[in-house]
Structure formats: structure tokens, C-alpha cells
Amino acid sequence: MLASISLIAFAMLAAVPLAARLGQRAGWLLALAPLAAFIHFLSQMPTVAGGDVITSTLAWVPALGVELAFRLDGLSLLFALLITGIGTLIVLYAGAYLSDHHHLGRFHAYLLGFMAAMLGLVLADDLIAMFVFWELTSVSSFLLIAFQHDKAESRRAALQALLITGGGGLALLAGLILLGNVGGSWQFSGLSGEAIAGHALYPAILTLVLIGAFTKSAQVPFHLWLPNAMAAPTPVSAYLHSATMVKAGVYLLARLNPALGGSTSWSTILITIGAATALVGAVLAIRQTDLKRVLAYTTVTVLGQLTMLLGTNTHYGLQAFTIYLVAHAFYKAALFMAVGAVDHATGTRQIALLGGLMRHMPLTGVAVALAAFSNAGLPPFFGFIAKEFKYAGLIELGLAGWITTAVMILTNALLLTAAGVVFLRTFLGKEGRYPHAPHEVSLPMWTGPMLLAVGGFVFGAFNNLAEVWLIDAAVQAVSRTAVPVNLYLWGGFTPALLASLLTVTLGVFFYLQRTRLRRRLSLWRVLWRVSGDRVWDRLLKRVFAFATRVADRFQHGSLRQHISWLVLAIAVCALIGMAASTADDLVWPEQTSPLNIAALLGCVLAVAGAAAAATMPGRVALVATLGASGLGMAMIFLAARAPDVAITQLMVETLTVIFLALVLRKLPPTRLVGSRNPAARRFHAIVAIVLGSVVSAMMLMTVSQPLPGDIAQWYLDNSLPAGKGANVVNVILVDFRALDTLGEILVVGLAGLAAAGLLAGSARAGGRPGSAGFDPADGARHPARAGSTPDCPEAFDGPASPTSQGSADFASVLLRQAILPLSGLLALVSLVLLWRGHNLPGGGFIGGLVAASATVLLALAFGVARARAVLRVSPVVMLAAGLALAAGAGVMGLVQGEAFLTGNWIFPGGLPLGTPLLFDVGVFLTVLGAVLHMLLRLIGQED
């Protein structure tokens, strides 16, 4: 079953390229996928008809008990055959109908995507999986309705459909979650009806699920979206909005009948709403002048009738439900496709303009005739059996049944009228006035209607076929108890037969009096003023206006307000969390480690540096104080016995200062501190203090509890035997938690690439707009003292270009001569740090940062070109090589059949060499490459 869904999904992906190549003929090829699925389901028919059920499962979220479970029983087989069978015909039809549309491939893709989603919906056994497919059908329906998106009415109809079905979907999700919790299982087949019926939440579940189903199946008052959805191209109307998608709600109700049904509230609600929908649909159908809208309203009627029948829960009622489902799908799809053919051939759908088409389009006419007879419920068509059983089912109910039977007779009569209009008025009678000369349509366009219409006849005449293979198993799946299924055309002079005769008489009467009927209906103008559509528009406008006002309040574009509110919200949540976790007040840590003078000094320095950076206005002050703050942090780390972290912090601080200094040369002097408005300053201060206090409180609370678990001890114990390293921190980084480190160097690499692109910038063209007091020749302002050496005569010719000569500030010959060996020494030290990192303080990160510092010295003193020459490879290549090496070190473990990043060691001559060391080299290269890429771009562009 999953295979058929995947096949159709694959066809969806192939649709656009195929259509680009083959144009209209792609339809034939694409129709093979649903055809294959149809044949597959046909082959499953004997098993399912015999009473067995086929299931298949795929684990999805095992922790929540959610899995992708599929179940093929009678009801889902019925639907699956309808979806794939009619789908094949529709794909063919669409290829011919939209043959000259430039987005035909996209249309096919949407259609096949919908088909896959709908198939998943009916096959899904898991509640959540079914909901996912439910929403996917809503989304694909939106895309399909809005296909001709240059028309405003298509967009509006699509939005309306999406909002109504999507809103219902939300309610459905809530209902399904409650159902899963109450019913004891997350699968439809496992739900326990008694547990649900007796539970206190039953009314809530019922309401929510019914809202979801009713929005999808266009019951009153949610029926407005279905007639408006006729703005979609006809293949969409034929497939989604008559045969399959709108039936999804009814399918869900049928599927949940064993679990939720049986109570009086279920029956009452379903019968009432269904009857109301049927009446509204039938009455409105007569008023329409567009053939498609007539069919749309009759679909609403039929959906109402199906809901009614499901609510009756009687033997005949459930059989009628299933039979009518199939009969309606057949004839409605056929009628829609035929109407589309008429539209395609003649250019109009207005009933007033049509007539006498039979001699021009005989094949379509015959198909419409057969379908219309089934619609009208005349023997020996399948629709007739459906009608008989409908009446039989309702009459069984007693007094309430007689009232609803009356409603049913009325609506069926009106359906017959509508069928008459569609067939007699359009195809027979005098010739109409057509925009184009009518002609018979191509093969793909009349095959569909003909096959379906003939199918309606065959199922009716040879009803034993339908009974044995389809209906029996489906009815058993829907009903709460075993139901004897027996289809027949002639059952004797039952009340149902009398009702049928009455229906036919009434229907014919309405047809003959239809103009007078329409005039009488339009006199009830009072009712029509309360048009659901206009209410909808006003509602939507109000919702958008409200959304605008709310958005204006919160999306004002001010970064500072966003941060302030965010911080305050975080503080409030943290306070709530802290208050909820301990019953008493803030727990003060009793056992604290002894005071460490070095750490205390570090803390003071860190805070003092940060405070100074926050308040002092000068650029040099900013750089210096930030550096001091970082040094304070390094002191804390050292005092707390974390040498690796301390060295990393030191190196990062150094590079931070370098970057900051290089960038600050380009920015205007910073004189602004805080906000101009004193009230705003106070507010910001309060926000900052609040968060600071909350964080302090959280920290104090955390350290007052004993440290849970003993993972630290595990790492200490296993570092040497398993990780082959004495530096536990490094072993954690490159061996035990190497995957995290791999992700982290990936982030560093990406940030480096992104930042380098921005730092290079467009310094040449108009680089520094505005702001006084800023001289691009800043670097050359001190040539007199530093640059005047006989070794660099070029310095006299104007501002020294850092790209070729090194920054002018470094132009002292003493400095230059000293920097060369220093750089070399630093590079050597970085390699030593890399090598010894596994057992002593060091490692890839530290080594990379030290090597970067070495190269920066070279670049500042001698110019970027020289530095690049010394490096020999571009920093980007280094970055990429580092990432590849790190990932490759992990793949070696995969090759051995173990998990990714498992350490493999060899010991040539007692020296331990292994993949974690390779990983460390990768880290070294990545960090070096990223930092250098950014720095060299930054230095290199100032000239």
C-alpha cells in the first residue's frame, strides 16, 4: 500500500519534467501510475471481500506511539479503487482539457500529489497519519483551485476553501488527540467504542471531530466553499469536489462510526445537519444558471444525504450509504467531465445558451444520458438501488424517519429535476446559441464519462457483482454490528418503492414547472440577502483588520523593543519555572567550594571590563575593555582548573581584538551611549537588571542541588582505556562527542564563508557614505615616523598599500625582521599544540587559533599577498580540506561496519595513531581556514 502511494508521489515529481518534454501526451504516461495502483488494489479485492484485512506499518515516532500504519479493509478498498480508478481517467482527461496550458506539468503534479495524499488518507490506520494526509489534501486542493491564479475569483475561492477546511482541520486535530487518549489506541482499529461513549469528554470529542468532518464535506453552514470552488478547472471539480476530497469528511465519519457512533447525539446531529444540507443544496441547485454550479449544489445535496444515512445507523441505511457513495462518485464525475467537454467544445456553460447538442456530441451525450439516469435514480441503474435503500433505511426509523423521508423525497425530486436540466435541456431540444461551433471531443475526454456512466449501469444491472466484491466488506467495516448485505433491483411493493414513485412524479412535475419554480424561489428575496458568501467577505475583512492592528503593535520594526519584550518574557517564564520547581524560596547553596583569589580577580576583571565597554565612548576604550573582560574570563577558567578552555578563551580574545580593531577603523567614532530619552534608558536598565537577577537566581538554585549522575566520572575512567588519551576534555571533543564537534566546525566554516563575503565588500565604489571626520587615508597618516626607512622607498609615494606592502604602522624594519621568526615559532607551537593535544593541554581548536595568529602577524607586517604566498593554499581550500578530513575520519569507522566516527587505532612502534587524531587535524584546518579567510579578506580590502 505504501508502494502505491510512493509510486504516485514519484509520478508527481516526474510530472513537470515529463510535461516539459512531451507536452500534452505526458498525460498518457502519467496515467500509468494511478492505473498501476488501481490494478494493485483490484488484485487485493478477493482477500478483502473474503473478510480479511491487510495491514502494513512503518515506525514514525516510536516514543509517542505514532506510526505510519496502513489498513486495507472494505471501506478503504472501496475508496482506494474510486480514487485510483477515477484518478486515471481524470489524468487522461486533464491532459486533453488543458492541452494548451503552459503550466500543464504543474497541474499534473498537483493532481498526482492530491491523489497520493487522498490515498494515504483512506488507507491510514493511525489517527495522526490520517490527519497529516487530511491537511495535505486541503493544501493540494488550494493549489488546484488557485491554478488559474491570475483570476481574482480563483484566488478568493481557494483562500476560502483553505480557511474553512483548514479551520476545521484544527478542530479535527484536537478531537483526534482527545480520541486517541480516551479510546486507548492511536489506531482506528484499536479504538474502544465503550470506553469513548462512557467518557466525560465524549461531547467535546464529538463536536470537534464533527466540525472537522463537516467543514471538509461542505455541510451547512460550511457549505459555501464548495460552489465557489467551481472556479477551478473542470478536471479538478470532477475529481476533488465531487468524487473524492469532499467525501473525505464522510469517510472519516464512517470510519469512526464503530468508535463514536451509536449514541443519540450522534444520530440526531448527523440526521439534522444532513437533512438541512440536502435541502439547502437542492433548493439552491434549481436557481443556478451555470451547469457547473448546478452540479456543485447537487453534490452538496448528496453529501447531506450521505451524512443523514450514516446517522440512521440502520441496516438499510448503511447499505444505502455505501451504495450511494459509489453511485454518486460514478455519475457525478462523469457529469462533470462531460460538462467540461461541453465547455471545451462550445465555449459556454450557461444553460440558457445550450441545447440540442446530441447531434454534435453523440458520445458525450450518451454518457451524460446514462449518468443522468443514475443521478435521477431510475432503474436499472445503480442510483436506483441506492435510492430504494435510502428510503428503506429511513422508513425503518419510525416517526422521525417519516419526516426525514419526506425531506429525502423532496431533495431527490429536485435532484431528478437537476439531472433533467443537465441532460434534456442541454443535449435534446432545439439548437442553442454557441460561441464556437460544437464538435465531438477527443478520445481522452469522452472515455472517462463513458466508462463511468456505463459502470453505473453495469453495477445496477449486475448488482451481484458489486455486492460480493465491494459493498459487503465496506458495510461491515462501517457498521457497529454485523449487517446482512443483499442488493436487489426489485423487492416487491414496499413503502420504499412507493416513495420512489412519488419522487419520480414530483421530480418530473418540478422539471416541467421549473421556470415558475425558479420565479417563486427568487421572490423569497429576504432569505437570499443573508448570503453566506457576503457574510464571509465581511468576516474576512474584519479578521484582516484586526490582524493588522495587532501586527502594528508588535511588528514596529524597532530592534530594541523586540529585545526588551523578549527578555522580559524570558524572565517571567524563568521565574514561573523556578517558582514551580521548589516549594520554598530561593535555595541558597550550603556547600560551596572555597574562595579562590585568582578566580575572584578574574570575576572582577570580567565584570569591570564589560561595564567599561558598556559605558565608555571611545573606540580604543571599547577594544581595550572588551579584551580585558575576556582576559578576566580566561583567569576564571584557569583558576577553575580548565586549561584548555582558558587557552581557547585567550586565543579567541586575541583574535576578537584584532578583528574589532580592523573593523572599527572603518566605522564612525562611537559617541552614543544608551538612549537619548531618559525614560527609555531607565526602562532598558530595568530590563537588563531584571534578566541579570533572574539568571543569577537560576544559577544559585542550580548549584544548590547536588550534581545528578556520574557521567563526569565515566568520562574520567574511560578516557585512557577507550579514548587512548590523557586529556579528557580533548578526548570528549574528538572521540566521545565527535559528532557535536563535527557540527560545530561546520558552523564555524559556514560563518567564515558568509562573513568573508560580507567583509570583502564593495570598498571601491562609494564605500563610506556620510559621517564626517573620517579619512580613507587613515593608514597613511603616520608615514613620517614609521614609514621613512631606506628599505621601503615606496612609502614616500603616498599611502602604503597593505595588500602589497603591509600596513604602514608595521613599517619599522626592526618589527619586520622580528616578526618573521616569531611567526615561524608560533606556527611551530601551533603544530606542537595540535600533536600533543590528546594527552596534554592543546588540541585542534587551540592549534588552529594559534596558527591563525601567526599568519595574521605576517599579513599585517608584509601584506596579504605575501601571507597568501607563504600559505600556499587558499584558506577556503584549507577549510574544505579540514571538513573533509574530519568527516572522512568518521567514515573510516563506517567502513569497518561500526557507527560513524568510531575511533580506530593502530600502534606502529608503540605510537598510538588513530582516527580521532585525524579528526583533530581536520578541526585544526577548518578553524585555521575559516579565521584566515575572514581576516585576509578584511585586511586585504583596505586600500
Binding site: 493588522t548 530592534l559 567550594s593 558598556a614 576564571i636 552614543l672 537588571i689 541579570g692 562527542r737 575559516a930
Partner: protein, 168 residues
């Protein structure tokens, strides 16, 4: 010691947030650094600070009262990533100065924001025209006219690096 470090963390976070709320974008970027420092210290001290020896093992086994190695490893990576983030923010700051000539937090949005490509020019006000079709369309237009630049022409001029007199 934990008490002092907790208070330090709180102070660093407060100073960091104060800097994030500053009027000049440069201090906002530096505020990220300070905030990052504070958070790193918080994570580090959550592993408890009662270690007496660094986390280096020998053949004989782990030293008594060794420092907790796991938060050290986490903080090490956090420091490096924080550095990368800082440099990226600095690069964005530099670029927006070059393109728009403005580094004030409050004004940078108005100056730098481009109008949405599918909407009409932002100078027009949002008027719901009659007819049902326009209602979703008009409502789909931008909700906050104040956010969009008043003169897209001027924004474009600075973007394409016009002569040094170009101001937003």
C-alpha cells in the same frame, strides 16, 4: 565560590542586555560577546567548581577531585562558535555601514529594508477597494506603513553605491 560566580554571571548578562539595547549597532554587536561570555561562564559553573585538579588522567587513574570535564568541552566549542557568530555580526555591521551609512539601531530597519517584491509601491496607503475580490488582496498588503522606507528611490541610490553624498 559558586555564589560569586553566579553573581558574576548575572552581572555579565545584565551588562550584555544593556549593551544589546544600545543606540549604536556597534555596542549591540559587542553586547553579543559579553552576553556570550556570561552564558559560557554559567554553563561552565553548572558543572560545579569544586575541582582541585585539572581533568588529565594517568595510568593510575583519575586524580581525586578532578574538575568536571564535560562542561569544559561544551564551553570550549561554545567559545569558538561565539567567536564565529561575533565576526559574522561584525561583518554585517560593516556592510550595512558601507551600504547605508547608518549604524543607529532605531533607524537601520527603515533605511535598510527593501519593499516586498509582490506589493505595490509603499507610498500608496492601504485602501480596501469595493468588491469582494479586493478584500483578501488589500489585506495581504503590508500592515505597517511606517516600517517601509518613505522613499524607495533614495534607498536604491545608496544601495548601488552612488556618489559619496548619498544619504538615506
Amino acid at each position: 565560590m559558586e555564589i560569586i560566580v553566579s553573581i558574576t554571571v548575572g552581572l555579565l548578562v545584565a551588562i550584555g542586555i544593556w549593551m544589546l539595547l544600545d543606540r549604536g549597532l556597534l555596542r549591540v554587536v559587542l553586547g553579543i560577546v559579553v552576553l556570550g561570555n556570561g552564558v559560557n561562564l554559567a554553563v561552565f559553573s553548572a558543572g560545579r567548581l569544586d575541582g582541585r585538579a585539572a581533568a588529565f588522567v594517568t595510568e593510575a587513574g583519575a586524580p581525586a577531585l578532578a574538575a568536571n570535564p564535560l562542561p569544559q568541552a561544551l564551553v570550549l566549542t561554545a567559545i569558538v562558535i561565539g567567536f564565529a557568530l561575533f565576526v559574522f555580526a561584525l561583518a554585517v555591521l560593516k556592510r550595512s555601514w558601507e551600504l547605508h551609512g547608518n549604524v543607529e539601531t532605531d533607524r537601520i530597519t527603515a533605511v535598510a529594508e527593501e519593499p516586498a517584491p509582490d506589493l505595490p509601491a509603499p507610498a500608496q496607503s492601504v485602501t480596501p477597494t469595493s468588491g469582494v475580490a479586493a478584500a483578501p488582496q488589500a489585506a495581504g498588503a503590508s500592515p505597517a506603513p511606517g516600517v517601509l522606507p518613505a522613499t524607495p528611490a533614495a534607498a536604491k541610490a545608496t544601495r548601488h553605491g552612488a556618489a559619496a553624498g548619498g544619504q538615506a
